[in-house]
């Protein structure tokens, strides 16, 4: 009995500790992680997808208009719709989770370089082949680089040197019917996939995402942060800048302008990159989609953890680095193809600035947030 009374007293001491009047840390109620998820879902992800879905709807209509009546005006309207949608895409590309992950949304909408014809990097299955044979199943993974934005880029900007030359393919060309069908198939599929992903978010996935607020590799926060960093590293840093500038093994270290996003459309690549850079920074800061309002996100979470540890201001460092990358990128030609061919060093310098934030995000931020990369046993005693 004496033993148990000892345990009892210990319990009392513990309880007394818990009701200490002067906690040295910040008030725990100050920060609710679920708020981050709510902000991401309701103010960033869903509005971005809604807006993007509007643009794919318009893209589809523009595609139909163009193919029913191919002329200079409808071509330009389709190009404009494509451009608007491509810019909006930069705000949803990073959210490859839930349905988007299931359907490989990013792969089907924006795999580049596109396989246009036999001179493309991947010449096995090309757009030209698809059109000539007329038998293609766009749902096949092997046809990912013959559809989406890059495929439209080729079909609207890359088929000929002038608008007249391009229009010929849709009017007088012997395969004109097939060309028009291909355009329609592409815009229909893009819109259909987008609607599918948006519907999924609206019909329950949003609640599932927000309520999965626990910590652990399968919690929404850990999952989203991992995906976010993955996007930043692989699609923004490498995909848009590094790979075309020739830093990767894909081109054995030689610059590869054909790997620029929106390769056939002069002067859009920089705008797409800048849009994506803004989107990633906005997400970090919790800035609402399409407005100037701010909400809870990684920035405020880091600030909260910092006040606890009295550490250096990581949020500031990361935002400064986003600024440096943006400032460096301002020097780039609006067309990355031109930039790479005239002075690739500016591209490499942009890559270096982006690279510095990989370290902040992947090392310092991941450590501070204690994000799990995977569900496996870790050490303890």
């Amino acid at each position: 009995m004496r033993k148990f009374s000892f345990v009892f007293i210990l319990g009392l001491i513990l309880l007394w500790g818990c009701t200490d009047d002067n906690p040295s840390g910040p008030d725990a109620d100050d920060f609710d992680r679920e708020e981050i998820l709510v902000n991401w879902a309701d103010n960033i992800i869903l509005p971005a997808f809604e807006s993007f879905s509007t643009t794919t709807g318009e893209l589809k209509t523009a595609g139909e208009n163009f193919t029913t009546n191919p002329n200079q005006q409808t071509l330009q309207e389709l190009r404009d719709a494509w451009k608007t949608s491509y810019l909006a895409w930069q705000h949803v590309s990073m959210f490859e989770m839930g349905k988007a992950m299931d359907v490989r949304f990013r792969d089907y909408l924006n795999t580049y370089p596109v396989s246009a014809n036999e001179s493309s990097p991947n010449a096995d299955q090309t757009i030209q082949k698809n059109i000539q044979t007329g038998t293609y199943n766009l749902e096949l993974p092997s046809l990912r680089d013959t559809q989406g934005f890059p495929a439209l880029d080729y079909l609207l900007n890359g088929l000929g040197d002038s608008d007249d030359a391009i229009l010929e393919y849709y009017t007088t060309h012997q395969d004109a019917v097939e060309y028009k069908k291909y355009i329609n198939d592409l815009v229909t599929r893009m819109d259909q996939l987008t609607v599918e992903v948006l519907d999924h978010w609206e019909s329950g996935y949003r609640d599932q995402f927000v309520s999965n607020s626990g910590n652990g590799a399968n919690g929404s926060l850990d999952m989203m942060v991992n995906d976010y960093i993955f996007y930043y590293e692989k699609y923004l840093r490498a995909g848009k800048i590094g790979i075309p500038a020739g830093v990767s093994a894909i081109s054995s270290g030689t610059p590869s302008p054909v790997r620029v996003e929106a390769y056939y459309s002069e002067g859009l690549s920089k705008a797409l990159f800048m849009e994506a850079l803004n989107a990633t920074q906005n997400f970090f800061n919790g800035k609402h989609y399409g407005t100037q309002e701010m909400g809870e996100s990684l920035a405020s979470y880091l600030d909260y953890l910092n006040t606890m540890k009295e550490g250096a201001d990581l949020t500031q460092l990361i935002n400064n680095q986003f600024e440096s990358a943006r400032n460096q990128a301002e020097n780039l030609n609006s067309d990355f193809v031109t930039q790479i061919e005239t002075d690739n060093s500016e591209m490499l310098a942009t890559y270096d600035e982006l690279q510095k934030n990989v370290v902040f995000l992947k090392v310092d931020m991941l450590q501070a947030l204690n994000i799990n990369v995977d569900y496996v046993d870790a050490d303890g005693d």
């Binding site: 370290v359 090392v363 204690n370 050490d379």
Partner: protein, 457 residues
């Protein structure tokens, strides 16, 4: 009395065999559950079959997963636990378990855990213990083996191993990061925000310090509290509370259960006999048959002396290995030279990033490597913060790009590591061609200095 005769007398002392038998039974069951859990989580495939490349321990490069056959190793390991538990062909079973389990652990050091190492050496120790002399199928069938008493040192050796694990884990916590900065608990605990009640508490700085100090104190004292009869029950309550907490706070799998059940070995045989009686009643086993009052005899004096000699050596090695870090200059947490196999558990939050550059010396072309092409996310995370991983991976890249036609690739790495909440700093010398450095146990001069100090052990 001389030391020698005291020692001889101790070695001749016998004790009731029930604690050892209970330990064997539970050990087998927990290992079986661990293996099943591992398989059910899909980890055999994910960790040992899916990856293209595996990180080897120095000198054990020949231990590799064997494709689909890797499942067979797990099946063998799982089956052996049943044999160990029921004590059927015990000696062969525990050897098979030790070998298969250790093989699994050696396949990829990405998954290194102190727990697994503990299981490996514990099963090694058990090879030499007569854990099947009592309440086992072997003893049921073989009268000459059956013994109600075993040498006391056989039970004490398990206590000693447990004591080493705890005490050394406690010693390792006596450093400035743990005690004065509450690191890494200060990073880890707030992440458990979603726990009821505890979640809010874990945001408080004082709680981080309380957990740090209590953890160190627990580890240092628990072996002694368990040894002393007066404090044993209290100590056992602490064991349960402590491990239940770690179970809730950290993703550490089966280990808490293993430690809780292992701690039963410290109790008086009365408890173990009660447990065995209960089991007997449930399974209708005639327990009396084992109660023959005989003492276990080793098959020969040589076997006995060899066992004692080997285990003495084993424990000397165990006591020394954790201190091998003293042979290396530099900060242990930073260089990790002599970090593993030392019961340094939960001491570090280390995150890293390693960007590898391949330079073709002939054409002077260079490019960066996409690590995800070669490694899983988990492997990449482990690799990026540990120098031996970085070097091994660099050599793998060298081989790969040689096959791709680059005759003499130079491999350089731009790497950053953050340790226990410090800002990230450059880790490996970016000007060092890693292909020129051979893996060895020598001090690594190619790691950049830590430029900070962690005081303590």
């Amino acid at each position: 009395m001389s030391i020698e005769s005291t020692l001889q007398e101790y070695l001749r002392k016998t004790a009731n065999a029930a604690p050892l038998a209970v330990f064997r039974i539970f050990f087998g069951i927990l290992m079986l559950i661990s293996i099943i859990r591992f398989a059910a989580n899909g980890w055999i495939y994910k960790l040992y079959i899916e990856p293209d490349f595996f990180f080897s321990y120095y000198g054990f490069e020949w231990v590799q997963p064997i494709g689909e056959w890797t499942y067979l190793i797990f099946i063998i390991c799982g089956l052996s636990t049943i044999f160990v538990s029921i004590g059927y062909k015990y000696r062969a079973a525990i050897i098979v378990f030790f070998l298969s389990f250790t093989y699994i652990e050696l396949m990829d050091k990405t998954t290194y855990l102190n727990h697994y190492y503990f299981i490996s050496i514990l099963s090694f120790l058990m090879i030499f213990l007569p854990a099947h002399a009592y309440y086992s199928v072997d003893a049921w069938k073989n009268e000459s083996l059956r013994a109600q008493k075993v040498p006391a040192w056989t039970i004490d050796s398990i206590k000693l191993l447990l004591g080493i694990v705890y005490f050394y884990a406690g010693l390792a916590k006596l450093n400035s990061d743990w005690l004065l900065r509450a690191m890494p608990l200060q990073i880890w605990l707030p992440a458990n925000y979603s726990l009821p009640i505890l979640g809010d508490l874990l945001q408080q700085t004082w709680v981080h310090y309380a957990f740090s100090w209590a953890g160190a104190l627990y580890d240092l004292t628990i072996p002694f509290l368990l040894l002393m009869k007066r404090t044993r029950l209290f100590a056992f309550v602490l064991v349960i509370v402590f491990h239940a907490l770690t179970r809730v706070l950290f993703p550490i799998g089966m280990f808490p259960y293993i430690m809780i059940v292992s701690a039963l070995i410290f109790f008086e045989p009365k408890l173990h006999n009660t447990i065995l009686s209960r089991i007997s009643r449930f399974f209708k086993i005639q327990k009396d048959r084992f109660d023959n009052a005989r003492s276990y005899l080793f098959s020969s004096t040589i076997t006995r002396k060899a066992s004692i000699g080997l285990l003495s050596l084993f424990f000397i090695v165990q006591l020394l290995i954790p201190f091998r870090y003293l042979l290396y200059p530099g900060e242990l947490f930073w260089t990790e030279e002599g970090f593993r196999f030392s019961w340094r558990v939960m001491l570090m939050e280390k995150a890293g990033y390693a960007n590898f550059k391949v330079v073709d010396s002939e054409s002077d072309q260079s490019f960066y490597v996409d690590n995800t092409e070669f490694l899983t996310r988990f492997q990449e995370k482990q690799m990026a913060a540990q120098p031996d991983f970085i070097l091994e991976y660099a050599h793998h890249l060298e081989d790969y790009y040689q096959q791709k036609g680059i005759e003499d690739p130079g491999i350089y790495v731009e790497s950053f590591v953050a340790l226990n909440g410090r800002r990230s700093r450059p880790y490996v010398d970016p000007n060092a061609d890693l292909t020129e450095i051979e893996p060895s146990l020598k001090h690594r001069t190619w790691i950049l200095p830590f430029d900070d100090e962690i005081k303590g052990l």
